[in-house]
């Protein structure tokens, strides 16, 4: 059966369409990001950056950070054009991932999604149809390609939706309509909609519909009969989120990406329209050639790697089960798990640095070191608090403190619960270190959120 699956083929138009759309969307997103001055604001202006465990070496490189964005933008354009595709997608994957790893303050699940997609695209023959590469080089021009090369993207999309849906099956979301109850009111000036968003039943309706939508949408898209209604729901759902929340370009990315579920005939139609615009046609690429799946050691290795990667994607979001206490409270295993829009969480953290031997002490003014956005994110995420404490430790050592001790007084409010003490104030954070182990200095949540 396995061997049989790898002998099934599909039109190369689908993957080519996805490549083109993905490249263009990324280019536009990067231009938008730059035009808001966010490169300066998030990566150059801050004097301190929150890094990912194991990737502490990935940091902005001053003014040259712009260069990374330029490389990323050009790579995205080349991906869209299908020009020097292998190098382009590899450069895009590396530069985009580098950008995301520079500061976890800006972490978004969707950025992670893009990283994953671009990594997988490195292994796919997305340039053998409607690309400059295939236009120039007949050898790599194919009309059909192995079916798994487009299916794998569908699976990645399915994971995002279904895991996001599973994560919504918790008591806060289902029984309390949290955090939508906090978020939905007052977020729009559109009359009528504004009134609805204040209604309690609307909060529940949105929560329940959201969960069902996430869990079911992929199945609607897989079935030919329900695909149109599925796509309609996707458009409505994402545009609604776009109206209600400041979520940038992602609704559009998800809408366009979901077109991959349609039949190749649709993708061909769209590519034909684009081709016409450039006074050309698809005839050249409709050459009847099939890119046969081969099983040389290198191909086996590729397939093996992708298989392992997909298994990892399926398992990694469940790593939270290895940690005690409430996931939403400790956030140990929260990121990279498609947990989106599940928490309204905010906090307050006040640091004190002491040099007991020399009787020196300081109450830290966070705005000295962090941007308002960094401070906001830091205040409710334990790994941020720890990393910042170590930064303070080093900073005050340079200021003449000997063996500084760093303590934090912090309070956090989660999903409509009154704020409560978050980190043990008696723990010297300078002596605690980041690891995958449970952080014992996080105070207990004293409540339970049932569910996945």
């Amino acid at each position: 059966m396995f061997q049989n699956y790898f002998k099934q083929y599909t039109s190369a138009a689908t993957l080519a369409f996805f490549r083109l759309a993905f490249g263009l969307m990324m280019l536009l997103s990067l231009i938008r990001f730059a035009s808001y001055g966010w490169i300066q604001k998030f990566y150059i202006a801050p004097q301190f950056h929150f890094t990912y465990y194991g990737f502490e070496w990935v940091k902005p490189i001053g003014i040259y950070t712009y260069l990374i964005f330029i490389i990323c933008g050009i790579a995205a354009l080349f991906v869209a054009l299908g020009y020097q595709y292998k190098w382009a997608i590899l450069s895009f994957f590396l530069s985009f991932t580098y950008i995301e790893l520079m500061d976890k303050t800006t972490y978004l699940n969707h950025y992670y999604f893009i990283t994953i997609i671009s990594l997988v695209l490195c292994f796919l023959p997305a340039n053998c149809y409607f690309s400059i590469d295939a236009y120039k080089n007949e050898k790599i021009r194919f009309q059909t390609i192995p079916r798994w090369t487009t299916d794998i993207l569908k699976v990645l999309l399915a994971i995002v939706y279904i895991y996001a849906g599973l994560a919504k099956l918790n008591s806060d979301w289902i029984f309390e309509a949290m955090p939508l109850k906090i978020w939905l009111p007052d977020n729009t000036n559109i009359p009528g909609l504004n009134y609805l968003m204040d209604q309690n039943w609307v909060h529940y309706a949105f929560s329940w519909f959201g969960a069902i939508y996430d869990l079911g949408i992929v199945f609607l898209m897989l079935n030919k009969k329900t695909r149109n209604i599925g796509f309609f729901l996707i458009v409505v759902f994402h545009l609604l989120t776009r109206i209600l929340f400041p979520i940038g370009v992602f609704p559009y990315v998800m809408i366009i990406s979901s077109l991959i579920f349609f039949e190749p005939s649709l993708h061909k139609k769209m590519l034909t329209i684009i081709a016409k615009f450039f006074s050309t046609s698809l005839i050249l690429f409709e050459n009847g050639k099939q890119k046969v799946q081969r099983f040389t050691p290198i191909h086996r290795f590729q397939l093996g790697f992708l298989g392992f990667f997909m298994a990892f994607q399926l398992l990694f979001p469940f790593r939270y089960l290895c940690y005690p206490d409430e996931l939403f409270w400790t956030e140990e295993g929260y990121r990279f798990s498609w947990r989106v829009m599940l928490m309204e969480k905010s906090g307050y953290a006040e640091f004190t640095v002491l040099d007991k031997n020399n009787n020196k002490s300081i109450r830290v003014d966070n705005s000295h070191f962090l941007t308002p956005f960094q401070e906001k994110q830091m205040a409710f995420q334990p790994d941020f608090i720890l990393e910042y404490a170590h930064f303070l430790n080093e900073y005050y050592q340079k200021q003449g403190f000997v063996n500084p001790e760093v303590y934090v007084s912090s309070y956090v409010a989660l999903n409509g619960r009154l704020s409560q003490k978050y980190i043990d104030p008696t723990i010297n954070l300078a002596k605690e270190y980041e690891s995958f182990k449970y952080k014992t200095w996080i105070l207990p949540f004293n409540d339970t959120i049932k569910g996945l």
Binding site: Y36, W38, F42, T106, L108, N109, H110, V160, I182, P185, D186, N187, T188, N189, I190, D214, N228, F232, V235, V236, H238, L239, L240, T241, R242, I243, F245, P246, I247, G248, V249, F250, P251, M254, W338, V340, M341, E344, S346, Y348, T352, L354, D355, K356, N359, K360, S361, I362, R363, P372, F373, K376, S409, Y411, V412, A413, G416, R417, L418, S419
Partner: protein, 368 residues
């Protein structure tokens, strides 16, 4: 059917695109103009006016004392100093606009004051109170020193104003009260001039809107000036040992609690939108939270915050009027008060600000 789908999608798309990225205006229906008008007319301006009245008395009584330096007159000017200090606690949270421009807060109440530097100022007779380096040589804490701290007894203190350097001490006292009044006049004149209408007109919810600025100053006042300044720092919350030398009203000794309680009362009154001059209440944070029906852990947030204010008052009642004594004899009571204040800092800063959706920054967030 297909056409309807398309039409609907198109409309949604247009609506979606017309809401611009950088602008996250919320429209929660609460009338911010009425709120700001109430704050300006019934709380902020009356507080500054009251402080002005107290400062006028202080200037007059200081004048009487310098003209006739007797122990009786010293007691009178001390009395009016304390009244002014209490009145100041009510204006301190509103140090924005002109007040921010002229460093009103720093010039009024930077403590611990520097006794040695004040002595130098008195001896040389040359100083510019406008300089940042002079913040801890002027204001109400400097008056505390020259009225309460020059000697052990009242007679010893009066002796400075009758002795060989009397003229210099008199000049310093006069300069201290005069600059306080000048500074307050500047701020009050601005409020009574066109600042009030500007303040009320700025009724949006951006970072620079009046509601946002007022709230941030109020919170900073409660967190830094009341919780940390009056209790936390002297109680050694941010240091390796206690720091009784950092209490407010250090030389007068028995006023620290009075000043703390006045400031806490001022904060609670502001939260409840209580008029400065009467017991009537108007729009305010409590009403705003109730209007938005903010419930946290099954209770109205405004109720939680008000009961915590009461809790603070109860804990403070345990304290001696003299914080220097309290800290050296039983600091745990200070720490208990601090914890009570701290809890309301988190209710106000986390829970309230979250509920009022005071946005700090615009940036993309996760969606699905």
């Amino acid at each position: 059917m297909k056409k309807i789908f398309f039409l609907f999608s198109l409309i949604t798309l247009i609506v979606a695109c017309s809401s611009t990225d950088g602008d996250t205006t919320t429209n929660d229906g609460y009338d911010r103009t009425i709120l700001l008008t109430h704050w300006a007319n019934n709380i902020i301006i009356p507080s500054y006016t009251n402080y002005q009245t107290k400062l006028q008395t202080l200037v007059a009584d200081a004048n009487t004392f310098t003209t006739t330096p007797t122990e009786a007159n010293l007691l009178i000017v001390r009395g009016s100093w304390l009244e002014a200090y209490k009145a100041y606690q009510y204006v301190s949270p509103y140090s924005f606009g002109k007040a921010e421009d002229i460093y009103f807060k720093e010039k009024n109440n930077t403590y611990p004051t520097s006794a040695t530097a004040i002595n130098t100022n008195i001896t040389t007779g040359t100083y510019d109170f406008g300089l940042i380096s002079q913040f801890n040589k002027q204001g109400l804490p400097a008056l505390d020193y020259v009225l309460n701290g020059l000697g052990e007894t009242n007679a010893e203190i009066v002796a400075f104003y009758t002795g060989t350097n009397a003229a210099k001490y008199k000049k310093y006292l006069t300069d201290l009260v005069t600059i306080l009044k000048t500074n307050n006049d500047t701020v009050l004149t601005d409020w009574n001039g066109n600042y009030k209408s500007l303040y009320i007109a700025n009724n949006g919810n951006s970072v620079s809107s009046s509601v946002n600025i007022t709230l941030n100053n109020f919170l900073e006042g409660f967190e830094k000036d009341i919780r940390a300044g009056k209790v936390g720092l002297p109680a050694g919350k941010f240091s390796t040992g206690t720091r009784p030398q950092d209490v407010e009203g250090y030389y007068k000794k028995d006023v620290s609690k009075i000043l703390l309680n006045t400031a806490v009362k001022g904060a609670q009154d502001f939260f409840n939108g209580k008029n400065f001059n009467t017991n009537a209440t108007g729009p305010g944070l409590k009403e705003y939270l109730d209007f938005l029906k903010v419930v946290r852990s099954g209770k109205n947030l405004s109720t939680t915050i008000n009961s915590q204010f009461e809790n603070i008052v109860t804990k403070n009642a345990e304290l001696s009027d003299n914080f220097r004594n309290q800290i050296t004899t039983d600091n745990t009571k200070m720490l208990t008060s601090y914890d009570a204040l701290q809890l309301n800092v988190s209710y106000l800063k986390i829970d309230m600000m979250q509920a009022l959706k005071i946005t700090v920054y615009y940036v993309d967030s996760d969606g699905d």
